[in-house]
Amino acid sequence: MSTSKNKLDTELVRELAEILSDANLGELEVEHEGLRVRVSKPAAPAVPSVAAMPAPAQNAAPPPAAAVSPDENRTGETPAPDETNAVQSPMVGTVYLSPEPGAKVFVHEGDKVKKGDTLMLVEAMKTFNPVESPRDGTVTRILVSDAQPVEYGEPLVIVS
């Protein structure tokens, strides 16, 4: 894992991703001198791969508590919000909406925030990690509740 590679690769990857997007491709793979890069679009929600993908847990009848992770259940209850401007959890942990129990929450829906403002905390292994706003904007939706466990990449809040 040489670090020099990382820098130079990401440039290439960015460029390939642009091409993918521009040319409206599904997948793109380049291999050259020991380096291989593949970029692909997420499978569109319409296509046959869904049908072809058996869902053992759902089909299999009485599995205890169904093989769906808790958070998937949760978001399943309400119509999925537009997550394009969502701030995602940078880590696995427990999310807190206020600095300490009983204190005021960092932000409410409708609040204006600046880039770098703390939106919430994620606690993992006894350390509290601030989740900062990536941009100036308005908090249009808070997607999690206080003290809820979150996984990596889980949308927490929408700032648009």
């Binding site: 894992m1 291989r36 593949r38 791969s49 072809a52 993908m53 058996p54 869902a55 053992p56 847990a57 599995p63 205890p64 508590a65 093989a67 992770s69 808790p70 880590m91 696995v92 942990g93 427990t94 993992a124 292994m125 466990p149 979150v150 996984e151 990596y152 990449g153 889980e154």
Partner: protein
């Protein structure tokens, strides 16, 4: 009492652990990277937690994220599988420090066995035969020459911190030795951040034979016979069988008891494997793997023992569910590792598995997390399944394996199924007459 296990791994071994848990009434938590969202173990587990982006360093090797996942799901034990963090003593310690059970050996044994020089010394102390070599590392070229003279050429130069064959050099003369030591030190420094190297006798045509052991916290130790894993390519095992066609029952009993006694003396806990080179009736210890092995199912098929189940029971403080006398050896088993790779160039072939049809019928086992419609991510190793077949005799096993290989279909990606079909037609394989270089010779000749 273990009631919920977090599986800190992916692919077929994550599914294997999930299966053992479900069969014990234990709930499972699958952790996964973003690339493994649709992995079979994730789909089947009771709960799942995404722990990071696709690169292993940011997900499956991220200790803090795995422990955080155990905390938010209320898991009370972690099974590390093989690879990733399975032989990371620091991780095992962290797991314990967070009040969780690590399903594996004690950190100190992981640590000793992770250092090849310390491991060898521990084995010498425990009465296990080792490869003649330098007693400890060689600092200089002249020290290396002196050691080589004592051992006798050819010799092998190995990195103390190495593994999987990396950083190994053969030398047949003093002159070759000079270069080999210098290169090995440089490479070891670059690869492992540690330039310590040591020297061993180089065996010309050895077999790779390993002994499975398992011990509980109550002083009970059993060996579960050997596996012959000589069919390797670039030090990666391809095809494994038990029992070894090269051993007779007396040899098997002897080495098994030597290993069991050594493990007992160490106070080792859980499942482990002592790997040996075997040549001309002699065993030479090479390393001990302090974890579950990829090829554990061949042992399961000849003994009827579920090794993963025993690991979990042992971690939970239970006694081994059998004594040495009760360990059966029935028939013969062979495992073929099926990789998503070109069967001759071994170039990985990630992508969508369009068709997936496993073989069925008597005494055929497939351990695979693949399914039709599954997309093999390009970020990890290319193992997509293990086909393990049992027969009452080795011949029955070989014949059954052949027909099973003919039934199996994996469409959409290249696989090493064709390599295995070829292997099963080779006289040496049919006769069990091979050494650790056999496969490389076969591939070179072809």
């Amino acid at each position: 009492m273990i009631e919920k296990v977090l599986i800190a791994n992916r692919g077929e071994i994550a599914l294997r652990i999930h299966r053992a848990c479900k069969e014990m009434g234990i709930a499972t938590v699958a952790v996964h990277s973003e690339a493994d969202r649709y992995a079979m173990a994730v789909r089947l587990a009771d709960e799942s937690v995404c722990i990071g982006p696709p690169p292993s360093a940011q997900s499956y090797l991220k200790k803090s994220q795995i422990i955080a996942a155990a905390e938010i799901t209320g898991a009370d034990a972690i099974h590390p599988g093989y690879g990733f963090l399975s032989e990371n003593a620091q991780f095992a310690e962290m797991v314990g420090a967070h009040g969780l059970v690590f399903i594996g050996p004690k950190p100190e044994h992981i640590r000793i066995m992770g250092d090849k020089i310390a491991a060898k010394q521990a084995m010498i102390d425990a009465g296990v035969p080792v490869v003649p070599g330098s007693d400890g590392g060689v600092e200089t070229v002249s020290a290396a020459k002196k050691a080589a003279k004592k051992i006798g050429y050819p010799v092998l130069i190995k990195a103390a911190a190495g593994g999987g064959g990396r950083g190994m050099k053969v030398a047949r003369t003093d002159k070759e030795l000079e270069n080999a030591v210098r290169t090995a030190k440089t490479e070891a420094k670059a690869a492992f951040g540690d330039d310590a190297v040591y020297i061993e006798k180089y065996l010309e045509r050895p077999r790779h034979i390993e002994i499975q052991v398992i011990s509980d916290a109550h002083g009970n130790v059993c060996h579960l016979w050997e596996r012959d894993c000589s069919i390797q390519r670039r030090h990666q095992k391809v095809f494994e069988e038990a029992p070894s066609p090269a051993l007779n029952q007396a040899q098997r009993d002897d080495i098994g008891m030597i290993v069991a006694r050594a493990v007992e003396k160490m106070g080792y806990l859980g499942a482990g494997t002592m790997e040996f080179l075997y040549e001309d009736g002699q065993f030479y210890f090479i390393e001990m793997n302090t974890r579950l092995q990829v090829e554990h199912p061949v042992t399961e098929m000849i003994t009827g023992i579920d090794i993963v189940r025993e690991q979990i029971r042992i971690a939970d403080g239970a006694k081994l569910s059998f004594s040495q006398d009760e360990v059966m050896l029935v028939g013969h088993a062979i495992e073929c590792r099926i990789n998503a790779e070109n069967p001759r160039s071994f170039v990985p072939s990630p992508g969508m598995i369009t068709d997936f049809h496993p073989p069925g019928g008597p005494d055929v086992r497939l351990d695979s997390a693949a399914y039709a419609g599954y997309r093999i991510p390009p970020h990890y190793d290319s193992l997509i399944g293990k086909l393990i077949v049992h027969g009452r005799t080795r011949n029955e096993c070989v014949m059954r394996l052949r027909r099973a290989l003919q039934e199996m279909v994996v469409g959409g990606v290249e696989t090493t199924l064709d390599l295995h079909r070829d292997l099963l037609e080779q006289k040496d394989i049919i006769d069990g007459d091979y050494d650790i270089h056999w496969l490389e010779r076969f591939l070179a000749d072809d």
